[in-house]
Amino acid sequence: MTQKLGSFPGGLKLNGQKKRSTQVAIRKMPLSKKLILPLQQHIGEASIPIVSVGDKVLKGQKIAKAEGHVSVALHAPSSGTIIAIDEQPIPHPSGLSALCISIETDGEDQWIKRQPIKDFTEHTEHEIRQLIRDAGIVGLGGAGFPSFIKLNPGVHHHVETLIINGVECEPYITCDDMIMRERAEGILDGIEIMCYALHVKNCVIAIEDNKPEAISALELALGARPHLKETNVVVIPTRYPTGSEKQLIQVVTGKQVPTGGLPIDIGIVSHNVGTTYAIARSIKHGEPLISRIVTVTGREVEHAGNFETLFGTPMHELLEFCGTKRQPEEPFILGGPMMGYNLSGDHLPVTKTANCIIVGVDDGAKASTPLPCIRCGECATACPVSLLPQQLYWHSRAKDLDKAKEYNLFDCIECGCCSYVCPSEIPLVHYFRFAKTEIMNQQQEHAKADIARIRHENRLARLELEQQEKELRQQQRKAALAATQAAKVKQAAELPTEPQTTDSQETQ
């Protein structure tokens, strides 16, 4: 059933470089000695540790609980003992450190007792969502947004379409492709659970036309499940960045998510195929999210491919396992070549949002000195969100952040199309990221300044009040004194013979 497809402006035709890592099936990364688990592996509040140093934990045991609404739990990827809960460098463009739990594995890899659910329809949607939250499931497409929130349609929203995002439009990354080829059954189980939780029937699995094997695998699996007749595979023309949530919604349904709004506002929910599979595992097999498929590829990698890797595995072990010719501290890319960021630390752990590691981009950009912007408008034509990157660049460079906000800076999805087509090779996305963090920092500063002003004004008011009370008390005392003195003088007038000096009391 070919649905009429919409499209979005701009975008790029990129060389997929996918063949490199899809020749071999998904392999399992052997267990490593030490696992480092950052507590902040998702968007929202970091989770709070519930274990202490020295505890023995089993595989799949919860070691940190969710904190606040937008947060999920964290589980031990393998059995062992907790050796440290301290600040460790985490995979982040800043290279800074954050609170992590380190586990020394004992090699037994012994599972905790799991409660798989045979028939999820017996549970209410709320219970299903709680189970998914307790299993620590987050969006595996790269953002890491807690999935249980996107499974809650809320009171006044009716979900019309569930989109399963198997587009994977960024070059080099193939983890979604391989998971669709080898684990189509698991994905369909996940779809059933999500359709139940969202009360939705119409489900679309969107796949780019450069993944024929994945398309056939899923269509075969769908054939065997007649009750999923409302679910169908939709083949999307290959174009970057179709995989971005808003652009995919525009292609599949032709509708646009309002700025600052969520897809649920127009009755659409989208999930990554990896997340769908993880949801199925958490409900049907009671397994929390403790590992994910990571693509390791690039010119320097001998056995490029996809690896089921436990979270916390140090990246350099993964790279050595694939035979990468790389000196320590040599930079590599985490994520895709268009939206990922470069890291160089060796002991950085694999986290829930690490979908791909690239060592040596083949057709990478050459080092160059950027020329000034000639306002040619190529970037505006290439922008899938129809922004004006040349104006955003102009104002971000001038640090005129209000103007940058006026030109919808925060609608920029940082896809990199503008930097790609820029004839002056200006790092446009870098300017926009700088402007965004500057604006956010400024907003925090203003919020703090407003609080400081209120506290200052309250303090002045309080001091004012105390001052008035002191004066009041002084007046009362003076009045009382005057009264007593007057009484004395009257008394003295009646008994003229005994003059009394009263000034000594006053100065007391």
Partner: protein
């Protein structure tokens, strides 16, 4: 000659009337500009601009008595914002008021604090918790780094600590500075 003088005085009379009427009709009260300026100032209430707090400094600027570059905590960004608002030329920070330094937080060394409450009275935003003869501590989220609590402390147990950026408050480096030297980047 007489008619000329008469004509001019007549003209003056009529127009004077018009102006008098207009002056009454368009009376203006309050000074909204001072609030706008106050909104821009960083509210550290530190007094480095030689005014008792940010509000007095804002009122002085609105009245035009003082320059816009006397606020070290606000630094260049605040001066740029004030220059934009008031349509005046940007002037670099006045050295005499102090130099722009990264945001600092006051921390009390708990071994040496004797609970004398002098710093509590000095803090313009009540960011120090404690009572007489009891341990004092600074509320980190409320401290504006104005350093007013340093002088009154008899045992000098308060020192300024730079705030370490965390991954979610980290800011991307400014590409404008590294623009031309990009070639030799790693």
């Amino acid at each position: 000659m007489l008619t000329a003088i008469l004509a001019i005085t007549l003209l003056a009379l009529i127009l004077g009337l018009v102006l008098g009427f207009a002056a009454i009709r368009f009376k203006v009260e309050g000074d909204p500009i001072a609030d706008q300026i106050d909104k821009i100032l960083p509210q550290t209430q530190c007094g480095q601009c030689s005014f008792a707090g940010c509000r007095p400094y804002a009122e002085a600027i609105a009245a035009g008595e003082v320059d816009i570059n006397r606020c070290p905590p606000g630094g260049e960004a605040t001066i740029h914002a004030l220059a934009d608002l008031l349509e005046v030329e940007f002037k670099p920070l006045d050295e005499e008021c102090g130099v722009e330094k990264p945001k600092m937080l006051a921390v009390i060394d708990e071994d040496r604090c004797i609970g004398c409450t002098l710093c509590i009275q000095a803090c313009p935003v009540d960011a120090i918790l404690g009572a007489a003869k009891h341990m004092h501590t600074v509320i980190a989220s409320e401290c504006t780094g104005c350093e007013l609590c340093l002088p009154p402390c008899p045992v000098d147990c308060i020192d300024m600590v730079e705030t370490k950026p965390k991954p979610n408050t980290w800011r991307w480096p400014d590409p404008a500075h590294i623009d031309l030297k990009l070639g030799d980047q790693p």
